[in-house]
Amino acid sequence: MTTFGNLLQQLINAISMGSSYALMAIGLAMVFGILRLINFAHGDLIMVGSYTVLFLQLAGAPFWVAALVGIAATTLAGLIMERVAYRPIRGAPAIDMLLTSFAVGIFLENVAILIFTPISRAFPAPAVMTQVLQYGALRISSLDLITTGVTFISLVLLTLFVTHTKVGISMRAVSEDSLGARLTGINVNTVIVAAFAIGSMLAGVSGLLWSARIGKVDPLMGFYPGLKAFIAAVIGGMGSLSGAVLGAYILGFLEVLFQGLLPASLAPFRDAFVFLALIVLLLFRPNGILGRPDTEKI
C-alpha cells in the first residue's frame, strides 16, 4: 500500500476515534459548565444503552428500532440520574458532587453485574456497520465512516441548538454566569434538565457506535470511554463545548499517532505516552486549550 493511502487510512481512524470521544465529552462538558459537576457516571450511560439495544435485538426487534429505544433509554437514565442523585445535592461543594457521581457510577455498574452477570456478551451489530469498504488499496471500515458522519450531524444540530434556541442560548448563559442568569429570569432547572437530556442522548448515540466497534457488551464497558471523554473535556477546557470536541479529536489523533510511531515493544504502553503528551500540554495550558481561567463568581 502507498504511504499516502496508509496516512489517509490512519487519518480516518483518528477522526473516527475522536468522534466517539467527542459525543461522550459534550455531555460531560455541558453538565460541568452549568453545575460545576464532573459526572463520572456519564460513561456508564453507554452501558445502559448498549444492554437495551442488545436485549431488544435478542427479542426480535429490528436494529434501528432497538437503536432508537436504546438512545431513549440512555436519555431517560441520564434524567433519572439528575433527578435522584444530583438535584438533592445541588449547590453542595464540588467535592460532594464528584463523590456522588462516583457512587452513581459504581451503583449502576454493580446493578448491571447483578442483573446481567459480569460476563460480556456479543453485540449484534448490523451488517452495514461491520463492512470493510475497499477503494483500490484503501480499506475503510464502514463503522468509521458511520461514526464520523453521525458525529458530524450531531455536532451541526448541537451548534444550531445552542445558538438558535431559547434553551440553548440560556444554557450558554448559565454556564457563563449563573447568578446573572438567575437574575435575568432564566429557569436554571430547565437548563440543567436539558443539559442532562442532550448529554445523555449523545452518550447513547456514542455508546451504540462504541458497542459496534468493540463488538461486545459488559457491565464495565462504559468506564474506559467515560474516562477518555473526561480527559478530552479537560484538554479542551472543562465546560467549553467546542473545547470538548477539539480535545476529543486531539486525543483520537494522539492515540493513532502513537499507535503508528511506537515500536512494537512499546505499543502496549500507548496510553502512557498519550497521557504524557497531555500532561505536557496541560503544563502549558492549565485551563485546557479553549478554557478560561475560572474567575470566582460571587
Binding site: S170, E176, D177, L179, A181, L183, T184, G185, N187
Partner: protein
C-alpha cells in the same frame, strides 16, 4: 401625605450569611411609579436587600410583598416573570454571548414574541451604541457599553419594578450622565425604580424617596429633597 397601597413593601427583613447578619429588620416601601434610592456605605446591606427581593437570598424572617405576592417564598425566575428585574452590580452580562443574545436573554421569561421585538427596538433606540455592536461578542465591549447592555437586558423583561445596583460604578462622567438620563426617562415613563448608588448626590437629585442603610438597618428615610438638606446625610454621604 396621601398613602396608597405600596407596590413593593419589605417588612422587618432579616438576612444572614452563615452567622453574619447582613440585614437586621429592614423595612422599605415603594409606591407605584416612584424612584426610590437606597444609599449607604459599602457593606451596609444595599446589595443584600436587592438580592433578597430578587429571590437569590432567602430572608430568615420578614416579608417582601410585591403586588400581593410574597417574593420571599418565590424562585428567582418566577419573580422576574412578575416584572421584578434587577440589573446587578458588576453587570453580570454574558461575555461569551453576542449583544443580541444578551438582550434576548433579558426577555427569556416572556412569551409574547411580537412585543419582544418592539422592546428590542426601544432598547436599541435608548442605547444606539448597542445597535452598532449588535453581533459583537459582549465581552469585547467597553465598560460603559457593558453597563448599557446590562441595563438594556433588564429592560427587555419590560419590568414593572426595575432595580439598579450601582449603575454608575467605575464609569466615566459622560457615561454616568447618559445612564442617569436613561434612568430619568424611565422614571418619567412611570416605571417604578429602586436605585442603589454610591453616588448619593446624583441619586438624591433623581429620586422621590430615599432610604439610608447602615450596618443592615435603615438609619434614615424620607423625601429625597429633605434628605439632600439633612446635615447628617450631607456630612456622611455628600461630602460636606
Amino acid at each position: 401625605m396621601p398613602q396608597t397601597q405600596p407596590i413593593l413593601a419589605l417588612k422587618e427583613v432579616y438576612v444572614s450569611y452563615g452567622s453574619v447578619r447582613a440585614l437586621k429588620g429592614v423595612t422599605i416601601e415603594a409606591q407605584e411609579g416612584e424612584l426610590v434610592a437606597l444609599l449607604g456605605a459599602n457593606g451596609a446591606g444595599k446589595t443584600t436587600t436587592l438580592m433578597a427581593i430578587s429571590g437569590i437570598l432567602r430572608p430568615r424572617s420578614g416579608s417582601i410583598a410585591y403586588r400581593g405576592h410574597d417574593l420571599a417564598k418565590m424562585k428567582s425566575d418566577a419573580i422576574v416573570q412578575l416584572g421584578v428585574m434587577q440589573c446587578p452590580e458588576g453587570r453580570h452580562i454574558f461575555g461569551a454571548l453576542s449583544v443580541l443574545e444578551n438582550l434576548q436573554m433579558g426577555a427569556v421569561s416572556r412569551k409574547d414574541r411580537q412585543s419582544i421585538q418592539q422592546e428590542l427596538e426601544r432598547v436599541l433606540s435608548l442605547f444606539p451604541i448597542l445597535k452598532q455592536r449588535i453581533r459583537q461578542t459582549s465581552g469585547t465591549l467597553s465598560g460603559g457599553e457593558q453597563q448599557m447592555l446590562a441595563v438594556g437586558r433588564a429592560l427587555m423583561a419590560r419590568p414593572s419594578l426595575l432595580m439598579l445596583d450601582e449603575p454608575s460604578l467605575g464609569l466615566a462622567p459622560l457615561i454616568v450622565e447618559s445612564i442617569f438620563n436613561v434612568i430619568q426617562q424611565l422614571h418619567n415613563q412611570g416605571m417604578t425604580i429602586l436605585l442603589v448608588e454610591q453616588n448619593a448626590r446624583q441619586a438624591l437629585l433623581v429620586a422621590n424617596h430615599a432610604y439610608v442603610l447602615e450596618t443592615g438597618q435603615i438609619k434614615l428615610s424620607g423625601k429625597a429633597e429633605e434628605l439632600r438638606t439633612n446635615p447628617e446625610v450631607q456630612r456622611l454621604y455628600l461630602g460636606g
